[in-house]
Symmetry: C2
């Protein structure tokens, strides 16, 4: 039985979505042939259009904010949703910064000549059509749309229903920019209806028109995407990042790194959620706990840690492998680097883990055996970020093992093909 | 309701398969830390063990062959299944050749230093556990097992029920080699039962223990794997390879390339299945048709082509986009390079397509616009092969856009992680 919905019946929604998929696919073909100057021109025009539409965007956003308030959404939600002149300027500047990045499309990644004279090149090409599913932050539309355009990919944006007015206003600026640069507007398409079933249709790939899905949002969204998607997904479900302080750590450095890894920003996926301290280094325990607590962090640990500092609260088993995204950290004594590696293998999320030590051999042991997307020696886990890696900008962080691992930037939004130049070669029987 | 099956009930099969997955995962951890010499030592020992077991392997194979004959399997099937001293020696030599290849594990793919002094390296690491699902060719066990071992991956081999005795005998040689090199035997595991449900369990990922599935076999197998797998798949469903002969082609070269692309071996995925000739080059049509027909190829084409050579048989619409894997080719006149690109976009399978022309601009236009894993200019499509690309050996060819595209060799069986060396860096607020 067909159900009615806002897009005019199930068939209506399906037809609408398939139309978006087909148009994006066609636009992508055109985009992949547009030269660098044309794509960069569109990015600059998009930035200009966002600036020119600042008032309209703020007005649209006000409607979303009002609804969110009426629906009793928490302050953090409303802060993520809110747009002002400063945030709109940041979006525009972000698009200009993307235009300034080197063009990945057409870059020769490797090239070699075979004994028979065949010249084989691995050439960077766009992935295709990116399905971007996000929640309340409207700026994702501009950031993701810009990165996809730069890398020759078409984007299909699907935002949370509560930010649809804001995103539609931003999207109007993006398509104005595309149109100014004579690129197809469908290169950045927006799902214009709030129907939840649209997500399911995208996860099924819209009849082969979507090549990859990138979710941005809470754990519930990412988990659903990972469970249901029939196309590849670039995502991380959570960032359970560990900092292991080895007995050979420099105390000053350990203190600085632990406090930064946890407290610089507690809501980012690269924030540390668990502190592991070498059992053989009792002299490090008290000062590290003190530093965290002094910085406003709640520390949860076992009896030994509570004995070291009475302000440590008892940890439950559930505190390990938990993403607090808050000023809370689980802490534990472990049996040296081997104990740390075992703990991370059991409780980590393959995201980012760090060791602090002055002992090179211990560090190399850790770096080789912790199988996370990012492993660091004597540096804060908060460096888990495309811009910090020098990629210019990122569309997300992936913890899968395929294609994109770690920050997803322009290079990870690209694939390659083999281009072979011959002079009449045939293959021997 | 539970069904009985050969593995002792559904629970029995599930438990068996999960046990294989868990053991492979544990073995992979050990493997990823084994050094190059140990993995190469195992490959050499495996080669020796296969040679030492030649008689036992031939005896086991005789049982499979006898059953296949009794079941009325066609001659081509029995040829694929058959093992003799020469084929066993080829497997052993193949393992030695893999040992000689450079080690991908631990290779630094890229390295750069950030302004804050962080040194970021992208380091090659194994993918993990590879599920290899294949049909009647028993040699796939040695080839795939060897490539996985070399690249630090564990392999779970699942062969067709009709080759199980042969593969089990080969597998015994592989595990003997692993054991001699003191590597875990589960690094190359064999599904020891013929139950078809084992495939479904592997496609579901065996509780997260399988990282990638590689199918090798007929279109039915690959289609099932692509439709049902819940983990990434490296595969090509079919190779609908095109050769486009441009009006600016050199006739001699065109003739040589077309005949080789079609007729060198008709059963490989890189064999041409469709000949496209520029409508503006009537002088090329007759000699190319004659050359193909003289080489024993059936040509199917429209009225214009039948007029050029009366031996051309009428083509139906279904002949285009069809993988003949035989001495048959579909042929068509197209409106220049644009017509060829359009035809390939509609009927191709993203595998391998070639242009023959002396005109560089036309060639570049074709190479940029045909979005297949491999595009060639003035060379035969039969070069679509890992060894011909200089990769040493391949485990298959992939037409997906992610991670592995084209020949799947050691590099494509690897992923990477970011290893960051710091000196106490913390991230600015």
């Amino acid at each position: 039985m067909k159900r009615e919905d806002k897009a005019g019946g199930e068939g209506g929604l399906e037809a609408l979505m398939q139309g978006i998929g087909n148009a994006a696919r066609a636009a992508q073909r055109e985009l992949s042939l547009a030269d660098s100057a044309q794509r960069n021109g569109a990015l600059m025009a998009m930035a200009g259009a966002l600036r020119g539409r600042t008032q309209a965007i703020i007005a649209a956003n006000a409607g979303d904010i009002e609804d969110a308030r009426r629906n009793g959404r928490p302050a953090a939600f409303i802060d993520r949703l809110m747009l002002d002149g400063k945030r709109i300027e940041a979006m525009a500047a972000g698009l200009e910064a993307i235009a300034d990045l080197p063009d990945p499309v057409g870059r020769t990644l490797a090239e070699w000549t075979r004994p028979n004279g065949l010249r084989i090149a691995r050439v960077c090409v766009p992935l295709g059509v990116v399905g971007m599913i996000f929640e309340s932050r409207p700026n994702v539309a501009a950031d993701a749309g810009g990165l996809c355009l730069k890398s020759g990919n078409a984007a299909i944006l699907r935002c949370g229903s509560e930010s649809l007015r804001s995103v539609a206003a931003i999207h109007a600026g993006l398509t104005e920019g595309l149109s100014n640069a004579r690129l197809p507007e469908a290169a950045i398409s927006l799902v214009p209806v709030p129907d939840r079933d649209a997500v399911g249709l995208m996860l099924a790939g819209l009849g082969g028109t979507i090549d990859v899905i990138i979710p941005r949002g809470g754990k519930g969204l990412v988990a659903r995407v990972q469970a249901e998607a029939r196309v590849p997904v670039f995502a991380h479900l959570e960032g359970i990042c560990h900092v292991y302080i080895d007995k050979a750590a420099d105390l000053e450095m350990a203190r600085r790194i632990v406090v930064n890894a946890k407290m610089r920003r507690t809501g980012v996926c690269g924030a540390a959620e668990c502190l592991l301290i070498d059992r053989a280094a009792p002299h490090l325990v008290k000062p590290l706990l003190e530093a965290l607590i002094a910085a406003g962090c709640e520390v949860r640990g076992d009896a030994a840690l509570q004995q070291a500092d009475a302000r440590v609260r008892p940890a439950s088993e559930a505190d390990f492998g938990h993403e607090f995204l808050d000023a809370v950290i689980a802490a534990k004594l472990v049996d040296g680097v081997t104990g740390a590696i075992g703990h991370i293998a059991r409780f980590g999320s393959d995201h980012t883990d760090a060791i602090v030590t002055e002992d090179r051999a211990t560090a190399e042991w850790f770096l080789a055996r912790v199988d996370s997307a990012i492993v660091l020696w004597n540096a804060s886990t908060q460096f888990a970020d495309g811009a910090e890696f020098g990629m210019g900008a990122e569309i997300g962080i992936a913890t899968g093992r395929f294609h994109a691992r770690g920050p997803v930037g322009l290079e990870q939004l690209s694939t390659f093909k083999y281009v072979v130049h011959g002079s009449g070669q045939t293959r021997a029987p």
